[in-house]
């Protein structure tokens, strides 16, 4: 059941593009993945043949379009093993999904004296929305610290959770690659009477995901990180929670009635899908989920473990102490995202040199500035691998680092 990255690569038109006569070595998938022709074609064909507004019109073309849209919802539901299709809410990205939780659930449920628990490895999307509401409500934010090898330090977890109303954490760090012990964390949250919110942005694209096995109350992730288009994200939540929450954005589709003096809210999922939804993008997301399913999430995870192991070994063998790779060594608890410091050369310079041979990596704070401060660096270089990458890409990365030594190795 091994996965052939070479075969998969052929599904991605952009990966046969060359710049300066060389192919792309795309190692920025933690940022956003490329799109296979299956997704590109699904979107284009939908626009060519079946596009129409959904939820509103009753002619056959609209019914057909609606079937595409709701069909994709069912496929996403199955992909994360949700019990009900209407627990799957389409947002514009994971960031909106997290803001929705904070603004709707948070504003209704949090007040001064309450405690929200986050971790030191969160993405800004799981920090700033809480800080914005904190400025209004005055609750306390606590943080789970990290161990030296970049895992969550759970020594004090029970104390940190004591009195917390919510624990919101990433299932995998977009900087360190660390996979967090989700089930243990959701269990601890629930034992303390807190809600468990899982940021699945870096997890769902790489692992078979079962919201119930994870024990999550909410899960957020983005289409564009799992071979789907931009413009759509997913919020999954327990029906009972979503039902009890006030609406987030107001407008068409989220109402059951509007009068001059007020409105009534629609049922799920419409309640949280105000205005014209990202119809074409949801169809693309459905195709992306099908595509990943056809490869198999277990095969994907295995491929990434193998590739991560190979990349870690290669980089350490070739560069020894000249490279410092953040996060755990054990591929069982890390994904294929490698942030590193190379000979103290500034990440911008590293990525610039790498780019000369089309090795595309990200240099920067990766939307995790609190974590950067804890790591003691303003920025790292990050190489992240996905289904279309293989050992050649890891080698290309290492070769490109040699050129960085040539220029900056003084």
């Amino acid at each position: 059941m091994g996965l052939s990255a070479a075969t998969i690569k052929e599904d991605f038109p952009i990966l046969s593009r060359t710049i300066d006569g060389r192919p792309l070595v795309y190692l920025d998938s933690a940022n956003s993945t490329h799109k296979p022709r299956q997704v590109i074609d699904a979107m284009a064909n939908f626009m060519r043949n079946s596009y129409a507004p959904v939820n509103r019109s009753s002619y056959r073309l609209a019914a057909e379009s609606n079937d595409f849209y709701e069909g994709a919802r069912s496929r996403v539901q199955a992909f994360i093993n949700a019990r009900k299709a209407h627990e799957v809410i389409f947002t514009k990205n994971a960031t909106e999904a997290l803001n929705l939780i904070v603004q709707s659930w948070g504003r209704a449920n949090l007040s001064a004296g309450d405690v929200v628990l986050l971790t030191h490895m969160e993405h800004h999307a799981n920090i700033v929305p809480w800080q914005m509401l904190q400025a209004e409500k005055g609750f306390t934010i606590r943080w789970v610290p990290l161990t030296d090898d970049g895992q969550l330090d759970l020594t004090d977890l029970d104390r940190l959770l004591d009195g917390a109303k919510v624990f919101s954490f990433t299932a995998m760090s977009n900087v360190l690659g660390t996979i967090t012990p989700v089930r243990r964390l959701t269990d601890a949250a629930h034992a303390a009477g807190a809600l468990a919110i899982v940021d699945g942005c870096q997890y769902v694209p790489h692992h078979a995901t079962d919201v119930h096995a994870l024990g999550a109350d909410f899960l957020a992730f983005s289409s564009h990180k799992l071979c789907g288009p931009t413009g759509v994200g997913v919020l999954w939540g327990h029906e009972s929670l979503l039902d009890a929450m006030p609406p987030f954005l107001g407008g068409g589709n989220m109402i059951s009635d509007v009068r001059l003096d007020g409105f009534d809210t629609a049922e799920l999922p419409s309640k949280f899908e105000a205005g014209t939804p990202p119809i074409i993008e949801v169809v693309g997301l459905g195709a992306a989920v099908d595509y990943l399913d056809s490869i198999g999430m277990a095969a994907i995870r295995q491929h990434e473990m193998d590739l991560t192991g190979y990349a870690l070994r290669t980089l350490k063998e070739r560069f020894g102490d000249d490279i410092r790779i953040y996060g755990p060594d054990n591929v069982e608890v890390r994904g294929a995202t490698l942030s590193f410091d190379f000979r103290g050369i500034h990440p911008h310079d590293v990525s610039q040199v790498l780019d000369q041979t089309n090795v595309c990596v990200r240099a920067g704070h990766h939307c995790a500035k609190p974590l950067m401060r804890i790591l003691g660096t303003p920025a790292t270089t990050r190489a992240s691998f996905y289904i279309y990458n293989d050992e050649h890409d890891a080698d290309a990365l290492a070769d490109a680092l040699d050129s960085a030594t040539d220029i900056f190795g003084f």
């Binding site: 911008h348 310079d349 950067m372 303003p378 900056f408």
Partner: protein, 146 residues
Amino acid sequence: MPGLEDLYREIILDHYRTPRNRGALDTPPAVVAQGHNPLCGDEIQVYLLVDGDVVQDVKVGGQGCSISQSSASMMTQAIKGKSVAEAHRILDAFRRMMGLEVDGDPEDVNLGDLEALQGVVKFPVRIKCATLAWTTLAQAMDDAGA
């Protein structure tokens, strides 16, 4: 496609390796402005001591990539000891060289070593690196009322 040699000229690497005028100045009498590049998280401090009409001293703290650091280093050399008016002319000329919009008509200013940074224009993402010290300088000049 532009090559790396357009970017990493020897003089740039030299300023990066051995930056001139690193450090801090007492504030007051000097002023200090903070700059940062949200893209990569680089942070820089420009300390400026203006005495009457003259840029008496200037020093740079913080960290950054080769382009931002060398640009800062060359900047300090270019303006230190110059009149405030001349510093403004250099500032404007440098920004123009980086392709930024500047009010007023271009003047003929010799940028010396700084010309080596011209190649940065071919790497649009790096322009922010090259201009970071200068934007921060502009703020320091403002703060100093210069």
